[in-house]
């Protein structure tokens, strides 16, 4: 049966849907917007990701965590079943029609879509960890970065203070899509940092691909996927470099450590044209994988400093 009318009102009218529309429209709200309190929603601009701010944030995080008691598990509200508690080692399977809201200790909430299967691996005061075998979750985490980790069949997803969607298909492939904050995707030392507005795919036999803007051109995204997972080689790289804009600098920066030496030259030249490297960063150094130079170039991209990352990561520097 086609559901065009139910979908958007087009196609042949469905009498039952029309009847319900008439009946239920009386429940629409007629209220106007609430009066807002005086002042701006925030004092000043957004948080700048400086080392100082990161230090303050980490200090505050420590104090915040110290005030929390250790939860014994996660509170789960499964549609149709009411609230229950999921403890370490237990599995939640929403099934084809199920939907669940999960409180991750005191640090965040998950919306778990139908056909999802997850298991709690750890529920400590400082660290919450789960595995997502397959399915789709929306994670909203307000705790300090790295408090929430999700294992998938092809990569580990680490929250860096954010709101994101993680979709794992039955074959183990995954897609993380970040709506606010940052997420890292890691496997076997290969790591991708995904900022808000970006996404990153992962494959069981490869690990995380290269992060990209969700509104990058379709050609760019397809070529990047070919490069990451389909041995797209030089032809795919050519499309990526041709389509790249200044906003894709973080994508090209990731490619600097993933391409062949010959390809790295081409990536360097394009990235340098879009986001010139700072003083002290040389072409030769980048081509030789100089980590300090890579870090300095990253700092220049306006996405936070590597100092901040390292405080969070602790092991990212050495490849």
């Amino acid at each position: 049966m086609r559901d065009d009318y139910l979908w958007d009102g087009s196609g042949e009218p469905d009498p039952e849907v029309q009847r319900l529309e008439r009946l239920l429209s009386e429940f629409r709200s007629t209220r106007t917007a609430p009066g807002l309190p005086a002042g701006k929603p925030i004092a000043g601009a957004r948080v700048r990701w400086t080392a100082i701010a990161a230090t303050l944030a980490l200090a505050a995080a420590g104090a915040w965590l110290a005030t929390r008691s250790a939860p014994e598990g996660w509170e789960v509200d499964l549609a149709g079943s009411g609230p229950s508690r999921l403890t370490v080692g237990e599995t939640l399977d929403t099934g084809p029609a199920g939907h669940a809201t999960v409180n991750v200790g005191h640090i965040g909430v998950l919306d778990v879509e139908p056909n999802s299967r997850l298991r709690i691996e750890q529920a400590r005061r400082h660290e919450h960890r789960m595995s997502l075998e397959h399915g789709l979750i929306h994670a909203f985490i307000w705790a300090p970065p790295r408090s929430f980790v999700v294992d998938t069949p092809s990569a580990v997803t680490t929250d860096l203070g954010c709101y994101y969607t993680l979709d794992v298909s039955p074959d183990g492939a995954g897609l993380v899509s970040v709506l606010a904050g940052w997420v890292s995707f890691e496997r076997d030392g290969r790591e991708s940092f995904i900022p808000a507005g970006a996404a990153c795919q992962t494959r069981p036999s490869v690990g995380p691909g290269t992060p990209y803007r969700k509104d990058a051109s379709p050609a760019f995204r397809q070529a990047l996927q070919d490069l990451d997972f389909a041995q797209g080689g030089d032809s795919a790289l050519k499309i990526v470099l041709t389509e790249a804009t200044r906003d894709d600098a973080f994508t090209l920066w990731h490619l600097l450590t993933r391409c062949t030496p010959t390809q790295r030259l081409r990536v360097y030249d394009t990235l340098a044209a879009l986001a010139p490297p700072p003083a002290g960063v040389s072409r030769e150094g980048i081509l030789h994988g100089d980590r300090l130079m890579l870090d300095r170039w990253w700092d220049q991209l306006g996405l936070g400093t590597t100092t901040w990352w390292r405080r969070l990561e602790g092991k990212w520097a050495e490849k």
């Binding site: 139910l6 979908w7 239920l24 009386e26 429940f27 929603p41 919306d111 709506l179």
Partner: protein, 193 residues
Amino acid sequence: MDTVFALTAGYLTSASVTPSPVVSISDDAELARAARHGSRSAFGRLYDRYARMVHGIVLARVPRTEVDDLVQDVFLAAWRQLSTLRDDGAFGGWLAMIARNRAHDYHRRSREFAELPENLPAAERHSPEALAALEAIRALPEAYREPLLLRLVEGMSGEEIAARTGMTPASVRVNLHRGMKQLRQILNSEGRS
């Protein structure tokens, strides 16, 4: 598999789907950015665009008589928390999550107090048939409740529901279809009895 925030949240004008003032998510991102910097008029326009979504999400979860107040709470919370929104293009999904959390908090708080019954006779202003239809939807699994209420009460198209809430269009379509199927069964069985 990708999320839908890059998609245009267009709508189809028809007798059943209420035209939305929304043109695109990128417009909303501009408004969110302006609101984050203190523009009340921009926040007011976001309210106009998202009030139906928030109302439908809350209506799917809390007693009908509490919905309007809770919708106002959601927008006030959003105004206060705008600093935590770091991708202005994600405003819709972020707001939907606040609405779900607020509804969840309502139930958590109400466990400490006795809840009032849903149908207080003196306050009722809806037809028995409309109330029965609403309760039938609210008895469905949560995954179906929300998209059906957004479609049938709020008049949003499936595409708009997806773009606004951050769910994938495929997920919205499946939930609408399955939810409507279950709803027909419930209404038919009630009609026979």
